[in-house]
Amino acid sequence: MSTRLDLPTLAWHRVSPKYLTAEFIGLAVTALVVAGATIPLHLFGWDYAWWATAAAVLAVLVYAAFTPRRIRAIGYVLRDDDLVFRKGILFQRFVAVPYGRMQLIDVNRGPLLRALGLSDLKFVTAAASTNVIIPGLPQHEADELRDHLVALAESRRAGL
């Protein structure tokens, strides 16, 4: 018997499908770097150097194969008084953060995300372990969500 965690009553907002492109490009770069790391083996003339390179690239490819599912598993819901965030398939994680607990909101854009018109949104509380980062939101949505969350936090302000 096994029970998969779920909060079935919630209608999850998922991240933009375009975020998958960003992840794939990132993984392609990772594959190149990993392959590059095996160059010294070739230079030393090790017999199995090609195997090492292939294994490294294969590991990245296997990880990439699960990426679409991994991204589909990321979701968030704005409930009346708190934000619920989920991620992970093998290692599932759900976090509920009351709006009043917000200390600040970060909206980050790397060059790749900016080219795709996406942003990462980070919800920071007084506890470091809260660690809620919603990746791959369309830029305008991230800005709206940020302003919305700040307004909600303002109306529910509490001490630490």
Binding site: S2, F91, A96, V97, P98, G100, T125, A127, G159
Partner: protein
């Protein structure tokens, strides 16, 4: 506010006048009327003159005007280094000094003073020494004059620095704790360090140094202003040390109990005897390590008799553990804990004393734990997570997070009642006790791990569980190292639920209650997945409703004047 007039504001009051200023009459019966009146008399006197009855002046320190620190502050802060330098110089010149009194004792030629005398640079040399001294004294004086603070209804503010000015302002309703530290040397001068802890890295406001009595009074005033209480200030109510000579007063302060009987309950709720302290240290985890190490050395010397190299590795470790023992012992001596209307007061220390007040609602989680060797004696340790971090280390040499270094079950009950007001009720305390010593049965109020969790929690699966208590969550863990974590609902930052592949096969899950960082991680693994999901929903809702009704940032704002 006359802050623009600096330095010709109230702080510039002439010092000699203060010595002859009559101390205001303190009659408890007329305290409310006397409230505003003494301001005119004492507000224009410096913060604390050495040897003056400072307590009478202290109430005026919180009148919203700028004040200066104890005049001996520069000496206490930087003067120790100066003394050391003078000591080194004297030590180097000792042969010359001997020569002065015992002629022909003979000393090695060519020391710097000989050079100066022979080359006729005596006057310039004396001039240079004097110049350095004058510059130092002026520097100390200017830095003392430029270092001012004020306490208003909203903020505590400090301005300091001569070339590089700093100005730090902290909101009173964000105070996480107020600590008064009295280092040995400062105690001899009758001075104390007052530190207002705020959440955040290096965010404390320090007042180094104040008169010893003034620090106590100022803390009470800051707490009164911060509490949002509408009660009238009791100016000069604690002018108890005003009589007697300077020596008597210093002696009185030196021997005084850490808790002011007027402000706190006269008795600490926990008596920590020296015997118990020594016992707790002897039975701490370090001892297990030490014993294991000794066994390892003996074993190696038996099987490899030529190799006593093991011993060489052991000596520094043993020294380290020994130092830790001594530190822990000295730091925990004279430990007191008592409740005041403005929060818990924890004091400790033999020579350097520390005495901290934690206002209500500043404790983010509590852990009651029992190292295995303490099981036989029934001792427990209580730690807390808190947002502010005092720069002074606490009991047992750790950060000020150990609220009770060692105590029995009754002590823990009393301490819990102080740090978590909900736990002064018998029902809640019974629940906490079940959390501490309960073996884990189906009907003990805790939702425990199911039997299938024994794969992940070999010994503790019966005990491993949670309960929702009054305004808080209780997590019970550990069979061998017993542990109870209590997180008050209004302090919860967020809550997480997680499940890995192994837990999924067993239909188990883990919950995490996130609070500010500290020695406690409120985490409970291997509980039933459905129970965990329900717990996640319930606690998330409870945290929201608790934090919206929480008024602990102005903890006395709801009570009547």
């Amino acid at each position: 506010m006359s802050d623009e007039q600096y330095p010709s504001g109230p702080v510039a009051g002439p010092a000699p006048a203060a010595n002859s200023a009559p101390a205001p009459e303190t009659n408890p019966g007329t305290a409310p009327e006397a409230g505003p009146a003494p301001d005119e008399v004492v507000a224009r006197t410096p913060a604390a003159l050495p040897g003056e009855p400072v307590t009478a002046l202290a109430a005026s320190l919180s009148d919203g005007e700028w004040h200066r620190l104890h005049p001996a502050s520069p000496l206490l802060k930087g003067g120790i280094a100066l003394l050391a330098i003078i000591g080194v110089i004297i030590a180097n010149l000792r042969e010359r000094l001997i020569e002065m009194f015992v002629p022909q004792a003979g000393y090695g030629a060519g020391d710097p003073i000989d050079l100066i005398l022979e080359s006729g640079y005596l006057l310039p040399a004396i001039g240079a020494v004097l110049a350095v001294l004058v510059v130092l004294v002026i520097g100390f004086y200017v830095s003392w004059r430029m270092h001012t603070f004020r306490i208003t209804d909203e903020v505590v503010e400090v301005r300091s620095g001569v070339l590089f000015r700093t100005n730090r302002r902290a909101r009173l309703d964000r105070i996480q704790g107020i600590n008064i530290v009295r280092p040995v040397i400062a105690r001899l001068f009758g001075a104390a360090k007052l530190e207002v802890n705020q959440a955040g890295q290096d965010a404390n406001v320090k007042l180094e140094y104040l008169g010893s009595g003034a620090a106590d009074d100022l803390r009470r005033e800051i707490l009164r202003l911060a509490s949002g209480s509408r009660a009238v200030a009791q100016h000069g109510a604690a002018a108890t040390t005003a009589e007697g000579s300077i020596v008597d007063r210093r002696l009185g302060e030196f021997l005084a109990p850490e808790l002011d009987p007027n402000a706190a309950e006269p008795e600490s709720v926990v008596k920590l005897s020296v015997g118990r302290l020594l016992g707790s240290i002897a039975l701490s985890g370090g001892t297990i390590f030490l014993v294991l190490m000794i066994v390892a050395v003996i074993v190696t010397s038996i099987f490899a008799s030529e190799a006593l190299f093991g011993l060489i590795g052991v000596i520094p470790a043993a020294l380290g553990i020994g130092t830790f023992y001594v530190q822990r012992f000295l730091k925990s001596l004279r430990y007191t804990i008592a409740g005041t209307p403005d929060g818990v007061r924890v004091g400790f220390g033999l020579l350097t004393t520390s005495n901290e007040t934690l206002p209500p609602g500043r404790i983010h989680s509590v852990k009651v734990s029992q190292p295995i060797l303490w099981r036989t004696t029934g001792w427990w340790e209580v730690k807390v997570n808190r947002a502010g971090h005092s720069s002074a280390s606490g009991a047992a040499g750790q950060q000020n997070t150990t609220i009770l270094p060692v105590g029995n079950l009754d002590d823990v009950r009393r301490v819990l009642g102080l740090v978590l007001p909900e736990f002064s009720a018998e029902e809640a305390l019974a629940m906490a006790e079940t959390g501490m010593i309960g073996r884990g049965t189906d009907d003990d109020g805790f939702a425990n791990s199911p039997r299938r969790a024994r794969v992940l929690r070999w010994f503790s699966w019966r005990r491993n569980g949670f309960a929702v208590g009054p305004g808080s969550v209780l997590l019970r863990k550990g069979k061998i190292w017993r542990e109870l974590v209590i997180v008050p609902h209004p302090r919860l930052q967020s809550i997480a639920l997680s499940q890995g592949p192994l837990q999924r096969r067993l239909s188990l899950a883990a919950v995490y209650l996130h609070t500010v960082a500290g020695p406690i991680t409120a985490q409970l693994g291997a509980i039933d997945a459905d129970t965990a999901t329900a717990f996640f929903d319930d606690v998330a809702a409870a945290a929201v409703s608790a934090s919206s009704t929480d008024t602990s940032h102005r903890w006395r704002s709801t009570e009547d004047a």
